[in-house]
C-alpha cells in the first residue's frame, strides 16, 4: 500500500522525504565534499570537471552550474546540503532563498523586514 503523503499538496514546497533523498544522494554527496577547503578550490577552478567526478545526473549537474536552486531541489537536493554551494560562492541563505522566489534580493529582504511572506499568500 502506498504511503500517505499529504505534504505533497503544500504549494511552493518540496518536502525532503526518503524518495527525494534517494534521488538526491549523488547531488547531496557532492555538496558535502565542499566542506573541505581543498575541494572548494578545485570546484571553483573547474566546476564542470569537478562535477564530472560525481555520479550525478546531467540535470543535477546543469542545475548546479546554473545555480538554479529550485531545479536542484526538484532533483533531490535539500537546502542544508545546497548551502555548501552558496557558501562556497560566498553567498547567504537569504540570497539563495530570494533566488528561489523569483524576487530580487532587495525585494525579498524588504518582504522579510515587513514581516515575511504571509502564510495565506499564494507563492
Amino acid at each position: 500500500m502506498a504511503l500517505d503523503k499529504p505534504y505533497l499538496g503544500i504549494p511552493g514546497t518540496t518536502v525532503f522525504d526518503a524518495e527525494q533523498a534517494r534521488r538526491g544522494y549523488p547531488l547531496n554527496s557532492f555538496c558535502m565534499s565542499l566542506m573541505k577547503a581543498d575541494n572548494r578550490a578545485r570546484f571553483k577552478a573547474n566546476e564542470r570537471a569537478y562535477l564530472d567526478e560525481w555520479p550525478m545526473s546531467e540535470e543535477q549537474k546543469q542545475a548546479v552550474l546554473a545555480r538554479d536552486y529550485n531545479r536542484m531541489i526538484a532533483s533531490g537536493g535539500n537546502i542544508y546540503f545546497l548551502a555548501k554551494i552558496f557558501s562556497t560562492d560566498g553567498l547567504s541563505f537569504q540570497y539563495a532563498a530570494a533566488t528561489m522566489t523569483g524576487m530580487s534580493q532587495e525585494q525579498y529582504a524588504q518582504m522579510m523586514l515587513s514581516g515575511g511572506r504571509a502564510p495565506e499568500a499564494k507563492p
Partner: protein
Amino acid sequence: MARVTAGVTTSHVPAIGAAIDLGKTQEPYWAPAFAGYEFSRRWIAANRPDVVFLVYNDHMSAFGPDLTPTFAIGCAPEFAPADEGWGPRPVPTVIGHPELAAHIAQSLIQSDFDLTVVNKMDVDHGLTVPLSLMFGQPERWPCRVIPFPVNVVLYPPPSGMRCWRLGQALRQAIASFDEDLKVQVWGTGGMSHQLQGTRAGLINRDFDQRFMDELIDHPERLAQLPHLDYVRDAGSEGIELVMWLIMRGALGARVRTVHRFYHVPASNTALGHLILEDLP
C-alpha cells in the same frame, strides 16, 4: 544528585552567528534581535549551569547523505566547530561531559529511546549560535555541553509527542546521576521559516505565538500537533520546533516564564526565545 534547573529555547539562524563573529550586533538591522538576549546574558551569569544539554539539529555538517540518525548524543570529551562551507566559526571548542552523556545514553536507551552514540563529531551553527547568543564571545565556553542532534531535515522527523516524552525520560536520567550538577536543557531551532521553493520567506506570527503559549501551559496538547501542520503553517524548516518539546518535557508540569522574546526577521526566520523554570 544532578538536576534540571531551567529550560531555554532559541532559534539558531546562521546569520546570527555571522553577525556576532563580524561585530555587527549593534547595526540597525541586528540591534533589535540582540536586545532580546541582554536579559538572558545577565540571567545566565547569575544562574550558571554546570552542563547544558543542547538539543539542536545538525545541518548536514557532521551527518549527511550517508548517515542520518533520528536522535544522537555526543559522548566525546570535546567537539570542534564545523566547517559549513565558509570555514569554521571563530568560537571556542565545545567541551563535553562524557560521564553524564554516557549515563544519559544508557538511561534513555533503557527507556526505549534508541539513541545513536557519537564519539567523534563537529558541531555546526545549530549548536554554536545558541551558545553565542547566551554567553557572548568568551575565550572558552563557561560550562560543559552535551550535544543532542535530532534529525529534522530528512522527513519525517520524530513526532512532537516522541520529543516531549523523550524530554520526560531525560529529566529522569539526569536526576539519577550521582554527581551534584546543575543542568539546563536547551531546545533550539525554529521558529516559522521556509528556506526553499517559491514559498521561501514564510513567517507565521500567530502560529509562533500560539506555539509558545501552548509550550508553556499545554505541552501535552501541543505534542499532538501533526507534522503536516508544522510544514504547512510554520514552513518546511519550521518543523525544527519539535525540538523545543524535548526541553519542555524535561521540565515539570507547571513552569514559570522567566523571559520571552520574539522578533522578525533574523534573515529568513522568526526569532523566538524562552527561558522557563519549574514552579515548585
